[in-house]
């Protein structure tokens, strides 16, 4: 991996869970499983000299740090910057727990390399707060009880935020489609629909 960073083009549009497999390389799967197979080559490990300097704009603040090119945005947020509101659920682009906004659109931060996120505007669940005050979508999730264990919730909230920025008055079916890339094993979906609907109303009301 070269030290020079090429301006990488990001694909347009959001990512859906079930449509994603085609773009996950086999190498990524093997690396995640950690199963040793006889005769398999051990990968070259990035040495500190090969680390890349990036400047990431997260929730309105610039963070400058050295990253390995293979580090995901999720890893950098959680393990390097201790911004842990963004959760790790599968780390392979299937569950949506790690959803953040990149330039206002919901993206899986586990499927986004930190080096590709440079030059974009990244918003995490913490970035929806105004000081200590909750944002509109966050308030709607509280009032409608749109979660149980709360682990997928930051991702759900970011997906809802992104949906409402793109479509301020989503229909029921548009909410179901817009939120279908975020899994909730507690099954709070009925209340999540209520919360997204309520948040859309509140946002129209001026907040």
């Amino acid at each position: 991996m070269s030290n020079k960073k090429d301006p990488t083009k990001r694909p347009e549009g959001g990512v859906t869970r079930r449509g994603f497999l085609g773009s996950v390389g086999a190498g990524a799967v093997v690396a995640a499983t950690g199963v040793a197979r006889p005769g398999e080559a051990i990968p070259e490990i990035t040495s500190p000299e090969e680390m890349v300097q990036v400047a990431l704009l997260i929730n309105g603040r610039i963070h400058r740090l050295l990253v390995e090119p293979r580090w995901t945005l999720l890893f950098v947020l959680r393990e390097r910057l201790a911004i842990t509101g963004t959760k790790a659920g599968c780390e392979r682009g299937e569950c949506g727990s790690c959803t953040v906004l990149i330039d206002g659109r919901p993206r899986y931060s586990c499927m986004t390399l930190a080096v590709e996120a440079e030059g974009t505007e990244i918003t995490t669940v913490e970035g929806l707060l105004d000081g200590e005050e909750l944002g509109t979508v966050q308030n709607a999730f509280v009032e409608k009880d749109a979660f149980q264990c709360g682990y997928c919730t930051p991702g759900q909230i970011m997906a809802a935020e992104g949906l409402l920025r793109a479509n301020p008055s989503p229909s029921f079916d548009e909410i179901r489609c817009g939120m279908s890339g975020n899994l909730c094993r507690c099954g709070a979906y009925p209340h999540i629909v209520n919360a997204v609907t309520a948040a859309a109303e509140s946002k129209k009301g001026g907040r």
Binding site: T33, G34, R70, A88, E94, E143, Y151, C186, G187, A188
Partner: protein, 766 residues
């Protein structure tokens, strides 16, 4: 009593003393029963809640686990020298490492394996562990460990495991224990008396819990004291298991489990990862964090076993049941677990003649663990479809057939009374709100989109009880601390606990600060599982608040110079009933000001003797089947549950809907697929193992609580809800599909692949 020792209790359970002073049932409530947003909602939606997966400590290392890639193999040799030299690697742990050779798993005083077993009985059995500076370095190092395996023959099919020639998962054959047989009356006589008999074999597929937070722990030593942050349903059970496995005093093991991202039963048991983290933290002198990759969670953190169930029911023409014969086969996976499914069939309906037989076999796959109402959704899939078929044969309404046969008593030991059984109300009120009769009477002809409605009923076989100890502290400024050991696994435990204290003391819900789920700072509670946290712990919370109130009343009587019996307590003010002038705010009590705090200790009172308690429920659904594609749209779902008194209507609704959503997974989308050629799981990810998304669940959900307090059972009148909410769901869907197109789907998942085939067969026959 035909109740096993409760599965959520791991090891010994201390008894709690009774106080002798229990409050009377609530007559009227102001906060209880209303819709109150969660007290920890801010933390959960703002990202400030620290889950165990978020814990990061100074100098912390990251661990990763190497697992056997074969369904069955013997480890001949492990070579770790290359891995040890990899960048960032600080320790490698195998069964040969000092202190790592220990028996496992410490459940109820018995061990079923070893921490590292050279005989790997399933794909995912642990072989070695690495601790490194970063998670990626740890995973890199795993790939440098060279393991020589002798690959062995395996068995992954329940029925094949019973064959004498099947590979033995353990010495002594593949049947786990003895088949469990239950007999009442005489089934042969019962079937001879029957006018109508139905018999069919049903199958459910193996389901994975798949909570959104992966399994894992962080371990840190300070001298000989071990602190563990664990994503668990019960901190005290982890404390006991870790202490027992590692030979440590209980007092030296502190387990903290504040927030946790879902468990559904898979986090009732301690994981090997917790002990690995503790061992490696000891080896390196640094904290160690081990969280499992998602694939490992699919392979090695439990499952709801699949069951094959043959059920035969006989009835008179008037619908009276005369006999039930129920046989079930399920798998425990590679280590012992009871895959029984017959309890629902044995007790839901009155039937004088019954025989049930449950057989569990070992197979070369991940070990089963309790999963949300273990055995019951499987049993409902069989029993409640059989009841539906029986209604068809009798020409009876499925709701009426169930109403006719509701069990009046728990049919064992000659019949034990229930403290409450509102199943009839669940069925009647549910049917009314759903518009059941109108839907049944509709015109059933139509094009390729066919609608149908279905119903299924249930009870859940555990109720909770002692022990539970809770402490409430009220400070001189009127603010309150609540201290309880139970975990809040997403069910809203903290919120209803605060609501109970607020109800008793008249303080605001948000004036109560809660300390919970920490073995060092909170009182003992059993794990949060089995739908028993509310009925076990809520009476203790109420007793603790009541104990505070009693002390405050005595202080007020002294200060106002009136008799305690003349005083009433309302909104933190104590006043005389006979003299309006005489009243005092709690914050103005002189003795409280001097004393600083009032401490109330509450214990869970014992359950009533010679009675049993179960929650009951009924669910209704409407489907639209596309007969061209086999697709099923869930239009409506309604859950009518008898869980005693409703504490928080907001989280109650959420719990009912969540149970239904999980039931949709069992019924329509989920199935662990093992490759017959290799024995390996081929869908160990969320792409191929499909838990329901928002698009898979019903368009409309309705919750109809049968909000009748069970005051015979405990002082809050509550019963459990989490498990019953998922028991009848899958069966109700299958019954609705049968109503729509006349096809009885006997196997889960009821997906378009299966249904399109069944529709094609139906059309061929016609």
């Amino acid at each position: 009593m035909d109740q096993e020792s409760p599965y959520w209790i791991d090891g010994s359970v201390p008894e709690t003393p009774g106080t002798g002073e229990y409050p009377d049932p609530w007559k009227k409530t102001e906060i209880i029963g209303t819709r109150v947003p969660r007290v920890d909602a801010y933390e959960r939606v703002s990202g400030t809640a620290v889950y165990p997966h978020d814990v990061s400590l100074p100098e912390m290392l990251h661990g990763a686990i190497l697992r056997c890639p074969h369904a069955h193999a013997t480890v001949l040799k492990i070579e770790t020298s290359k891995a040890e030299k990899m960048p960032g690697v600080r320790a490698v742990l195998t069964g040969n490492s000092p202190g790592a050779d220990m028996p496992w798993y410490p459940r109820r005083g018995t061990f079923y394996g070893r921490l590292f077993d050279t005989n790997c009985r399933y794909e995912g059995e642990e072989v070695a562990v690495v601790a490194a500076e970063t998670p990626l370095q740890a995973f890199d190092a795993l790939r440098a460990i060279e393991v020589e395996y002798e690959v062995l023959p395996f068995v992954i099919d329940d029925e094949a495991a019973l064959e004498p020639s099947a590979p033995a998962v353990h010495e002594g054959g593949n049947v786990v224990g003895e088949p469990r047989v239950r007999e009442r009356g005489d089934v042969e006589t019962g079937f001879a008396e029957a006018d109508v008999v139905v018999e069919r074999t049903y199958r459910t597929k193996c389901e994975i819990h798949a909570p959104m937070e992966p399994h894992g722990s962080v371990a840190r030593w300070e001298g000989n004291k071990l602190t563990i942050w664990d994503t668990t349903q019960g901190v005290f059970s982890v404390q006991e298991a870790v202490a027992r496995a590692m030979g440590l005093p209980l007092a030296n093991v502190r387990v903290i489990g504040h927030y946790m991202g879902g468990g559904f039963g898979s986090k009732l048991e301690v994981g090997k990862y917790t002990v690995y983290a503790a061992l490696m933290a000891k080896m390196t002198g640094r904290p160690v964090k081990i969280f499992l990759p998602r694939e490992d969670c699919f392979l090695a953190t439990g499952n709801r076993p699949g069951n094959t169930m043959t059920v035969k029911i006989g009835a008179k023409n008037d619908g009276t049941l005369t006999a039930i014969d129920y046989r079930s086969l399920g798998s425990s996976g590679a280590y012992a677990y009871g895959a029984d499914s017959s309890t629902l069939a044995a007790y839901l309906y009155t039937c004088p003649n019954l025989r049930t037989e449950d057989t569990t076999v070992y197979i070369n796959a991940g070990k089963a663990r309790p999963m949300r109402a273990p055995g019951f959704p499987q049993g409902a899939w069989a029993l409640e479809q059989a009841m539906d078929e029986l209604a068809q044969k009798l020409g009876a309404d499925p709701v009426e057939l169930r109403l006719k046969n509701i069990a009046g008593v728990f049919q064992t030991d000659g019949g034990i009374p229930f403290t409450s059984n509102q199943l009839a109300e669940c069925l009647r009120k549910g049917a009314m709100e759903f518009g059941w009769s109108e839907m049944r009477a509709r015109d059933k002809t139509g094009g390729h989109l066919r609608r149908g409605v279905g119903v299924a009923a249930c009870f859940w076989g555990y109720a909770g009880g002692p022990p539970s100890t809770v402490i409430v502290k009220l400070y001189s400024d009127g603010s309150v601390n609540l201290n309880m050991g139970a975990s809040d696994i997403g069910t809203g435990t903290k919120t209803w606990a605060a609501m109970i204290v607020a109800e008793e003391l008249g303080v605001a819900v948000n004036a109560i600060q809660i300390e919970y789920a920490d073995t060092a700072t909170t009182q003992y509670a059993t794990s949060s599982g089995g739908s028993k946290t509310v009925p076990s712990d809520s009476p203790a919370v109420r007793a603790a608040a009541y104990a505070v109130k009693v002390q405050l009343m005595r202080m007020a009587a002294e200060q106002l110079k009136v008799d305690v019996s003349d005083l009433e307590f309302r909104d933190l003010t104590i006043s005389s009933r006979s003299d309006e002038e005489k009243k005092v705010a709690v914050t103005a009590l002189e003795k409280l000001d001097r004393q600083g705090v009032v401490i109330g200790t509450g214990y869970r009172d014992p359950n009533p003797e010679d009675m049993v308690t179960f929650p009951f429920g009924a669910q209704f659904c409407e489907v639209e089947v596309n007969t061209r594609t086999g697709e099923v749209r869930l239009l409506r779902f309604l859950g009518a549950h008898d869980s005693g008194r409703v504490l928080n209507r907001l989280t109650y609704d959420n719990q009912v809907f969540g149970g239904i959503v999980m039931g949709v997974g069992l019924g329509m989308t989920e199935e662990r697929v093992l490759d017959p050629q290799t024995g390996k799981m081929v869908n160990a990810n969320f792409h191929d193992y499909m838990i329901p998304t928002m698009k898979d669940v019903a368009i409309e959900h309705t919750c109809v609580p049968i909000d009748i307090p069970d005051n015979e059972f405990n002082t809050t009148g509550t019963k459990g809800l989490g498990e019953p909410a998922t028991i009848p769901t899958a069966a109700a869907i299958a019954n609705a599909v049968c109503d729509a197109i006349g096809i009885r789907v006997t196997d889960t998942p009821l997906n378009p692949i299966q249904l399109a085939r069944l529709i094609a067969e139906q059309q061929k026959e016609a």
